[in-house]
Symmetry: C2
């Protein structure tokens, strides 16, 4: 097996309303490349959010008493804390400089995934500008998949990834927050090893493993390569519709020993 | 940027004392491939442990009272629990079927990384046979790197990976447990985004991202491709010796909100 991760070059700064399928095609064209059947498109959350105009202007946010109190505790802008609370189900951990929540979509991450780097408003005054996660990243992924399939008459998988911190280890990891046409969780339960013994590692976060590899290719310090094409994987949609999207990767709270 | 993950084919079942550099060269040769300057070799923990004869025969383990009591609590073989305790600094979480520890090397993982799948003893009676993690995975990685450099007169990076469960999400992820010639943690602290604003995501677990991508290529149900060559990354050793190896990825206990 040979997997190739190809960073798509010359993707311009994404604006609200931009058609990402067009930008990907145009970027690949500058490289003499074209999407192929069974490619997986890994795309950074940030440009999905920009295309979907998920900007929030903090100067228009009125922090509640709860947000003001919490902001003091975690040493953050009360308006940003209000935005984080608005995007969250509950606070998981807090301490000065750190606010880890369960985001509304079920992702446990710092600041509910709200980002302030690599974004700018039209008038250049960007200090109060934030970018929220997409409203429904699985739908964003599925929409892009359908658009690409319609244009090229090919099957592709789509993963939206985001850089997320983790317990026990230092350094963020690119993880999947939206998935389409790709089995996010590979389940080997009931399968046996080469000696017929039942496997101990029975579930593999395949979409996260691909999201992580793609994140390495995307880099962090600029926004020049927010799209990576992964060639050689042959993605497939789970037959069971309940297993589609990113949900199979999210551990329910009552099954989680680390909240 | 283009990264290619190449699964090395035709690696035979690894035996204690095997020279892995030779097996990798031979496997690549069957594919008409050869190691190149700046390749990264990602290699599964399991075959490192086998080559280093890290087998443990549970029939020779005498469980302590503590292990017997804990085994009842977590519904596991008391001898296996004793082996896990012997390999651990402390128990992090326990419940029936689950025993998560800080392994002696600092890795937080289930069962101290002790594995019973895909291993077999010479007489075929493998029910009591376990495989422990390498004693010093960074050294194992460095030894392999030096051997490859000496043979081919090239620079390579080496990452030893293992499938590890995580908080909040279902499904294991391939993560680095040993690193040589590769900057495990990419540190962007103090760097700015494309608008000159300080980056929010400042540390990236680069070795983990590569380990995860390679794990996807290795697969899980057989042992045929426990080595993956990653081409296109240009690995480099951190100049600061204290930042070498896997240690920069491990969050110290007193800095960890999730123990």
């Amino acid at each position: 097996m040979r997997l190739t991760f190809i960073a798509v070059e010359n993707i311009p700064m994404v604006q609200p309303g931009d058609d990402l399928a067009t930008l990907i095609d145009q970027g690949l064209e500058t490289m003499g490349e074209v999407l192929q059947d069974d490619d997986v498109i890994v795309i950074a959350q940030k440009i999905i959010s920009k295309a979907e105009n998920r900007y929030l202007d903090l100067s228009k946010v009125e922090p509640s008493d709860e947000a003001i109190e919490l902001a003091l505790e975690v040493d953050k802008d009360p308006r940003k804390v209000q935005a984080i609370l608005d995007e969250s189900r509950e606070v998981i951990r807090k301490r000065p400089g750190v606010l880890i929540v369960e985001q509304k979509l079920g992702f446990v991450q710092a600041n509910a995934g709200i980002d302030q780097s690599n974004i700018i408003s039209e008038n250049g005054d960007d200090d109060d500008l934030c970018l929220l996660l997409p409203i429904d990243p699985d739908k964003s992924a599925a929409d892009l998949r359908n658009e690409v399939s319609a244009r090229h008459n090919i099957n592709v998988g789509v993963i939206i990834n985001d850089s997320i911190g983790r317990a026990w280890r230092i350094g963020s990891l690119g993880l999947a927050i939206g998935v389409a046409g790709f089995t996010a969780l590979e389940d080997y339960i009931g399968q046996t090893d080469i000696y017929g013994r039942e496997l101990l590692v029975t579930q593999v976060g395949a979409a996260d493993e691909m999201a992580a590899g793609a994140s390495l290719v995307m880099g962090q310090t600029d926004e020049k390569t927010p799209v990576v094409i992964v060639r050689g994987y042959k993605p497939r949609d789970p037959e069971d519709k309940s297993l589609r999207g990113v949900a199979p990767l999210l551990r329910p709270k009552d099954m989680d020993l680390f909240r």
